[in-house]
Structures are given as structure tokens and as C-alpha cells.
């Protein structure tokens, strides 16, 4: 591919390349032909869920004993890269299912919960969503007002509302984070079947971004779940944040995929589009755009690849993940915008991908820790001083 300017290919193992190539072909064959249309229609292509499951995309870095592929984290990152080369909505679906639903079941669930849920989630039989963010508590999740009150018989009664929930109206099960007491140390996670009485999901309408993705508002009104719905290993805000670290790692790779798609489209266009009797790629202004794009893509690739190696070695830190998410999404957002501009008037059409990626990436910039919050995380990491509040 024209995006491999630094022979990253040579730094990948045969297995990592094979994984990347399979997902790449899936995206080329099944996602790219329909995604522009889905986006305009505002429809998540649910018909792809069984195929994605059959390919083994969900929770692919979790162990084989739970029905998952047991891949390393670099392979997992490459999956996210390829999916988002298709669309951020497709990647978001897989991110949520794997990193925000299957991961907490794996990390915090009882053995019985893991055996029950993980194989069914890997096979796509059970789709999940992750309910942390609330209408008034986004960057400050510790302020959440959703509660889980333990009843006399050991069951829990959940009340509250969650917002901006990817897969919310598709999901069969929701991982709901709620306070069992008053402060953020009492935050626990629950697996709530979405057909439980009192649980409702409503599509959020009017999105101008991530249009090929389900985004919902969840309302929990006296939702009663048995004690077995509690993820026993959860305790405090740290638990959902651990999930977010997993997802943000994947997002750092996903953003590269979106940037690659925009760059390749812009590069091909610049060679074919003739203006003033020559391909526009021959003009210095467009070459500056392309040179900046490929440079930032290579830097992002190296950042995420090394982060993946650190994650596989078990030595990565959440702050490193913040840096990668912050940088890669930021550069991808800029690349998408520059690619859109290079494409001229054609760039506003759904037939091309740049504007769709550009719009999607505005969400990715804001979700999973906003760009600004990651700035503060890095600021705190290097100064030791907290600038959050």
C-alpha cells in the first residue's frame, strides 16, 4: 500500500500481516461498496454482524478458551485500523463489543459470567453496549447519578439515564455503570439484559457524524437485576476507566485507518485530476498536503505499533494510550479535512470517503476521552500537577 512509507510491513509478524490482510479484504469486499450509502441513509449495516463474528473480529485479543481468537494486541490494533479504513462506525461497533463489553466481562466477571457471555458475544449472538456517560456527566464520569440500590433479597434496582451509547438500540446486553453508594468508589458494573422491564433505548436523531452507527440514549427506570448481574471484580471509577484504556488503544489504530483511506483517495485523485493541463498532484500546494499527510500517518503508525508492543509486553501505561489516542485522532481529523479540500467539489460527495471520515472523526475526537481531557492527562503525567479541577 502506498501508505507504508517506512516499511512497517517488515516490522509485523506473518500472523499480524495475515490478520490485517483478512480484515482488509473483508472491508474492501463488504464494507466499502455499501458504506457511503449507509452513511447517507443513517443506517448501521447490521447485516455485517454475522460476517464480522464469523471472521472472529469481536474480542479478538481475548483468550481462545472463551471462544475468542487469542490474538496479540498488535493484531487487534490492525483489525481496528482496517475496520476504520472502512468507517469509524464499523470500527466503533467492534470496539464497543470487544473492548467495552467483552473486556469488562473478561476482566471483572465471574467464571460463570465469562463462560456464559464471552462465547456468545464472540459469535455475535449477544451484542453489547457500554453505559457510562450520562447527559450531564461526560468528561467527569465520577459525578454520575445512575444508582444501583441493593435490595433485601440481594438483587439490585437500577435508576438513571445514559447518553451517547454506541450500539444502544442494537444491544441485547448493556454494561451499566452505577453507584451503589454515594461517591465514586461505589461505582460498580452490571450486565443488564436490554429486555429487562424498565430498560429502554432510544436512537439519538439528527447526527451529522457517525451516521452509519447506532447511538442511543438509555433510560433505566426501576430496572431490577439479580445479584448475578453484578460484575464482581468491579470497584470504583478505575474499572470503567480500564475498559476505556482498552478501547482507546484500539481507537489510536482506528484513526490511522481513516487517515490511510483519506490519504490514498487524495493521492489517487491528485494523480488523475487534471487542472491547468496537468495532474493537480504536480502542484506544490497539493504536494505539501500529501507530504504532510503521509508524514503524520507514518508517525502515527510508529506510535501505535510501539504502543502495541508495549501492551503485549504488559508494560504500557494509560498515559501512553492517551498520547496515542490524542495524537492519532487529531492528525486523522486534519488529514481528512485536507483530503476533502484536495478533492475540490467532489470532496463533498458521499461517493468519496474524505468528508464522511472528516465528519466521523469529529466524534472520535470527542469520544473516549475528549482531545482536551487527554491533553490534561498528559499535562498531569509530565508535571505531576492536576489541571482537571
Amino acid at each position: 500500500m502506498s501508505t507504508d512509507f517506512f516499511n512497517i510491513e517488515g516490522a509485523l509478524s506473518e500472523e499480524e500481516r495475515a490478520v490485517r490482510d483478512s480484515v482488509r479484504r473483508f472491508v474492501d469486499d463488504r464494507v466499502l461498496p455499501i458504506i457511503g450509502h449507509c452513511y447517507v441513509e443513517g443506517r448501521f449495516p447490521r447485516e455485517l454482524i454475522p460476517e464480522m463474528a464469523a471472521l472472529g473480529l469481536f474480542g479478538a485479543n481475548l483468550p481462545e478458551e472463551y471462544g475468542c481468537a487469542g490474538l496479540n494486541n498488535v493484531s487487534y490494533g490492525l483489525i481496528m485500523q482496517e475496520l476504520e479504513r472502512g468507517d469509524s462506525g464499523i470500527r466503533s461497533f467492534a470496539s464497543v463489543q470487544g473492548a467495552l463489553v467483552m473486556y469488562p466481562v473478561y476482566a471483572f466477571g465471574s467464571e460463570a459470567q465469562k463462560r456464559h457471555y464471552l462465547p456468545k458475544m464472540a459469535s455475535g449472538e449477544i451484542i453489547g453496549c457500554f453505559g457510562l456517560t450520562e447527559p450531564d456527566y461526560g468528561s467527569n464520569p465520577s459525578g454520575m447519578i445512575t444508582t444501583a440500590r441493593e435490595q433485601g433479597d440481594g438483587s439490585y434496582l437500577l435508576n438513571g439515564a445514559k447518553m451517547w451509547i454506541t450500539n444502544g438500540s442494537t444491544a441485547h446486553a448493556a454494561i451499566i455503570w452505577a453507584k451503589t453508594g454515594t461517591d465514586d468508589t461505589s461505582i460498580r458494573g452490571f450486565i443488564v439484559p436490554t429486555d429487562t422491564k424498565g430498560f429502554s433505548a432510544k436512537d439519538q436523531k439528527g447526527k451529522l457524524s457517525l451516521r452509519a452507527s447506532d447511538t442511543s440514549e438509555l433510560v433505566l427506570q426501576d430496572v431490577c437485576v439479580p445479584k448475578t448481574a453484578l460484575l464482581p471484580g468491579t470497584g470504583g471509577l478505575k474499572s470503567p476507566l480500564m475498559c476505556l484504556t482498552q478501547a482507546r488503544y484500539g481507537i489510536s489504530w482506528g484513526a490511522i485507518g481513516a487517515a490511510m483511506a483519506c490519504y490514498e483517495e487524495a493521492l489517487a485523485y491528485s494523480k488523475n485530476r487534471v487542472m491547468f493541463d496537468r495532474p493537480i498532484g504536480g502542484f506544490q500546494l497539493q504536494q505539501l498536503r500529501l507530504a504532510d499527510m503521509i508524514t503524520e500517518i507514518v508517525k502515527a503508525q510508529l506510535l501505535s505499533l510501539h504502543l502495541g508492543r508495549l501492551k503485549d509486553a504488559g508494560t504500557f501505561t494509560p498515559q501512553q494510550v492517551s498520547m496515542a489516542k490524542r495524537n492519532n485522532v487529531d492528525i486523522a481529523t486534519n488529514i481528512a479535512r485536507e483530503a476533502r479540500r484536495l478533492l475540490g467539489a467532489n470532496g463533498i460527495l458521499a461517493e468519496y470517503s474524505a468528508m464522511r471520515h472528516m465528519e466521523n472523526l469529529e466524534s472520535v475526537y470527542t469520544y473516549e476521552g475528549t482531545h482536551d481531557i487527554h491533553t490534561l492527562i498528559l499535562g498531569q503525567a509530565v508535571t505531576g500537577l492536576n489541571a482537571f479541577n
Partner: protein, 249 residues
């Protein structure tokens, strides 16, 4: 049913080929190699037959150690085991390669030998007939539909202007064409499982080469497109050029 699938490692169709100094081979550095697309139809056909009728699928490839990666692709798709017939380079001569494959296939007790109708690198179309001849088996090439019933097989071949239906007895050599099936992608668990499947490597008993590549030359650069005019007025000139210059009408 025991099925052998002969597969080849070839440059990706999207690769930009450069000719190596000496003009007899291509530069392999930086080239992405894939499982020959026509062989993918053969692997898929073998896997479908195994799923329907049981048995074993063995992937066989001839070449240096890099072909093990291609063999692992077939294993990741679902083949049971793999055999590398090891050579130093990439031998070109069809009969030389066919002799080595036949020597391996002869002793394997296969009911069916599948392979792509051609490799997309050399376009020789010759391996299936050569194997049929060397093994003394029926050889059916470029099959777009295949039905196996007991020891009998029926195949459809797309011929000029129609379809030809042939019947033959097993064991047989069958080469596969587009339209036969839609090859599956290696799944991620399949890729992991492939690492644990048996991979045998043995020296290839290559026959003597009778054909050698003399020179390779890239195709001529395509001239830039040209706009002959606009609107209906340009049509006669366009038709004239398509007839006399492009010679496509």
C-alpha cells in the same frame, strides 16, 4: 475423501512489478505475495467437499521456505496439513515442477487433486494437464462447477459461447476457474490454528528444465487519454478513432 490442493505463491495483482537486472526475473523486495487467486477456488472447493463428505485436505506447494507462508494461508482457510516441496529458487519449467508434484501426489493416495487453472504470474495454464499426464489420471481444466458423487464426478466448463459438461472417474486432476465458488477469508481463529497444524518440508524431486525464461520486458507505457471533442459533433470522429486507431470496434 482425501484431497490434495496444489497452490502457488504469486505477486499480488496490485503490485507494481519491476524487472531485476539481467532481465529474467522480477525484483521481489517490497513485493507483496499472495495465494494465487485461482488456487483459492481450489482450496475452497476442497474445503466444501470435505465439509459435505468428510475427509482430509492437504495443501502442497513447491518453492523456497517463503512458500510456507502461503501454505499457512491455506491452513488458515481450513486445510488440515501442508507439504512444502523445497527448492532453492522459483523453477519456471512446467514439466520440471509437475514431475516433482507428481512424485509427491503419486504416493499420497488422493481421490482428487485440485489446483487453479493458472497462476497469475506466469499464465501457463499447463499444470493440470501435465499432472494428469504424469499421473495417468483424467485431467479436467478450468472448471466452474464440480459435483462429486461416489467415484464419479461431473464438471462444467465455460467454453466459447456456452457450457460444456464432462463426466470422469476419480481419482482425477481438476483445475478451477472463477465462478466455481466464493473463497472464504482466513478467519482470525483460523490464522491462530494454522500455526499448530502439521507442516512437512521435503526436497522437491524436480525434473529437468526444458524451458527457460530468456527475457522479461514490462508492457509499453499506456499513452495518455485524449479528448477528441465535445457533444454529438465529436461522435463521428470518436467512432472513427475507435475503429482505426484503437481498433476496438
Amino acid at each position: 475423501m482425501k484431497i490434495a490442493v496444489c497452490i502457488k505463491r504469486v505477486p499480488d495483482t496490485e503490485t507494481r512489478i519491476t524487472i531485476a537486472p539481467g532481465g529474467q526475473s522480477i525484483v521481489e523486495t517490497g513485493v507483496k505475495f499472495i495465494l494465487n487467486p485461482y488456487d483459492e477456488f481450489a482450496v475452497e472447493a476442497a474445503l466444501q467437499l470435505k465439509q459435505a463428505q468428510g475427509g482430509e485436505v492437504v495443501a502442497i506447494s513447491l518453492g523456497p521456505d517463503v512458500v510456507q507462508e502461503t501454505l499457512r494461508t491455506a491452513l488458515a482457510m481450513g486445510a488440515d496439513r501442508a507439504v512444502q516441496l523445497k527448492t532453492d529458487g522459483n523453477p519456471y519449467d512446467t514439466i520440471a515442477v509437475a514431475s516433482a508434484l507428481a512424485a509427491e501426489l503419486q504416493s499420497g493416495g488422493y481421490d482428487l487433486i485440485l489446483l487453479g487453472k493458472m497462476a497469475i504470474d506466469d499464465y501457463n495454464h499447463a499444470m493440470a494437464p501435465a499432472l494428469g499426464e504424469l499421473l495417468g489420471l483424467p485431467a479436467v481444466s478450468a472448471v466452474s462447477k464440480l459435483t462429486i458423487d461416489g467415484g464419479k464426478a461431473t464438471a462444467e466448463r465455460e467454453v466459447e459461447g456456452g457450457v460444456e459438461v464432462v463426466t470422469f472417474a476419480l481419482p482425477a486432476v481438476v483445475s478451477t476457474d472463477k465462478g466455481l465458488n466464493k473463497p472464504r477469508l482466513p478467519t482470525l481463529p483460523g490464522i491462530m490454528a494454522a500455526k499448530k497444524k502439521p507442516m512437512e518440508s521435503k526436497a522437491a524431486a524436480l525434473g529437468a528444465a526444458q524451458v527457460t525464461v530468456r527475457t522479461l520486458t514490462p508492457p509499453p507505457e499506456r499513452p495518455a487519454g485524449r479528448i477528441v471533442g465535445e457533444g454529438a459533433a465529436a461522435v463521428p470522429e470518436l467512432v472513427r478513432l475507435l475503429q482505426t486507431e484503437a481498433k476496438v470496434l
